[in-house]
Symmetry: C2
Subunit: 343 residues, 2 copies
């Protein structure tokens, strides 16, 4: 009756070897004859031995877990469809590797810093994912101080050496603008995300660049915090201006959906009176009416690749950054030619 779960000592005794040798066999280190190794592993299998994670952690100082710190106010967290999908991707890799994901959701910068410190200090994780990169991100210094391996989601600014996994969303925004221009739009607005975040800033400058390249006015931009609420406000502001845009490029889907709501509330018909594009290709964006033209990335794949990259970084001490396929424009029903009235 195996009441207690077997330990390495049980395995050693049963196999008639020392426990050190069992450890060698387990981690296939040299110095164990093939026959002995097989015998040990067989015995371990028979006994149903699974080495204790805590004991391993204590002696190796690794936790076999990765960390993800998300900084979002509780009210806003649900609005962002990125994380659940990203996490699903991460998990699909981690479970195969017998590792776990430690999640930390914090409301503000102070708590965020403390969270990284605790995660590292308690040896809870062997590495972390860095999301929502910001300009002059304090976290880079912190991670260096803590000697905590990290993979960035998105391109860190120049001078930062940590590996990253990114998609080129520039291309997607440019494609959206090109699409709208080809439909005949000339006054195009942009409801941008948080300019302090790298991706917010990058999408915004992609928009500006694309407009300028086309010889159009790139100044119809309103910055937000990516929330549906501010997306709605921004839309109202844009549409209330003297010469409102005939199309609006939103920096994410929830804001686009909120913008669509505002337009409809104002009695505008989308896309006849106003064209709208989203960003992210969330599930729900295909089911609003009209279905949103949006720019799709693949957050699940992003999670998978980021997890593999971080594991490689931890194992090898270095890892190559990865560029995922660029975000692609998915044309649906929320974009069309501008109204005849507007030139």
């Amino acid at each position: 009756m195996a009441l207690r779960k077997p330990t390495i000592t049980d395995v050693a005794r049963t196999a008639g070897v020392s426990k050190g040798l069992v450890s060698f066999a387990l981690n296939d280190k040299p110095g164990v004859s093939p026959e002995t190794r097989k015998r040990i592993l067989d015995v371990a299998g028979d006994l149903g031995w699974r080495p204790s994670l805590s004991a391993r952690s204590l002696s190796t100082k690794t936790s076999f877990a990765l960390g993800l710190v998300i900084r979002r106010k509780a009210e806003v967290i649900s609005a962002d469809p990125f994380f659940p999908a990203f996490i699903a991707g991460v998990e699909s890799v981690l479970t195969e590797e017998g590792r776990a994901l430690v999640l930390s959701v914090v409301p503000d910068a102070t708590a965020e810093m403390k969270s990284y410190r605790t995660l590292a200090g308690d040896n809870r994780v062997d590495g972390v994912f860095l999301t929502d990169l910001r300009r002059n991100d304090e976290r880079f210094d912190l991670l260096a101080e803590l000697a905590l391996p990290a993979v960035a989601l998105g391109r860190p600014g120049p001078g930062v050496e940590i590996p990253s996994v990114q998609v080129d969303d520039t291309h997607g925004i440019a494609a959206a603008v090109a699409h709208l221009i080809s439909l005949g739009h000339r006054r195009i607005g942009h409801v941008a995300g948080d300019p302090h975040m790298m991706h917010g800033g990058r999408r915004r400058s992609s928009f500006t660049d694309a407009m300028r390249d086309a010889g159009l006015d790139p100044s119809l931009v309103i910055e937000t915090d990516f929330s549906a609420s501010q997306g709605a406000d921004a839309t109202r502001t844009l549409l209330g201006a003297g010469a409102p845009p005939t199309a609006i490029v939103f920096a994410n889907d929830p804001m686009a959906i909120a913008g669509l709501g505002v337009a409809q509330q104002l009695g505008l018909h989308v896309p006849d009176d106003l064209s709208i594009t989203g960003f992210d290709g969330t599930d729900i964006s295909g089911y609003v009416y009209p279905a949103l033209t949006t720019i799709t990335s693949d957050p699940v794949e992003w999670g998978r690749v980021a997890a593999r990259t971080l594991l490689a970084l931890i194992a090898d001490g270095s890892a190559e950054s990865v560029e995922l396929p660029p975000a692609a424009l998915l044309v649906r029903a929320s974009t069309g030619p501008p109204p005849p009235a507007a030139p």
Copy 2:
């Protein structure tokens, strides 16, 4: 220069006591004189000592972490706004307690079971949250076998002894039906969730009960998996029927939004031609047009209470179930009187 982080031995040596005593002082156990205790804690503070989590885990067999296993296909996970908010609530409690949340996202039942086994076997967590309760849920037996403390989200069926934290969503559905009836609706449909899930089943039967109590036909119900996609399909089916309903009660917000999209696509005006209610009170539901009448729960609070309950269960070996304030109806613009044509 403290290169190495201090250990209990350093503290003991500096304070001039044995390390056992330091351990006692730390966990305020009896047998330490007040002065000595203070001196030890002072020294610990000066040295910046933080007890090693791995070492503690090894000797106490507790991990100071809680687990959450989410079973969702990767494609669907983003659609569910519950989890991010719930997790934010859990975290707000855990960070204060110096505990972490280990998240596991799995695609199917097999992986789910394995996940619980691994979490328990590796001693990764001291307890778990049980979400998406199902009828004859196999997890109850599994958790008993693993001797893993758990708190259920929602009411487990009879005969199950584990503590739970729940909101009475019956009340919310009933309120929605009452609201629609008071507006004059007589043919009301219901796009239900997964009947294998407890909350899906309960909302459905609440609907049926409320309708029957009002003397109305409770049979206009279509079951779905809670996804926007199936919500859209169900709406099309209901509206395409011989005598379509004048109002539809959806079992969650994403389906309601998808249903709204379908209605608009069919040229119906909401709420003049069709009234719609959602469920969950997600952020985005207030920004679609018309803003959704919905039933609000408070998933953040739910997370907080669930976390506290699970911690109490782990600490004391037992905990009281908690009933949260019932879900409340939030009347917005998507509900109104039925069209005159329909009696």
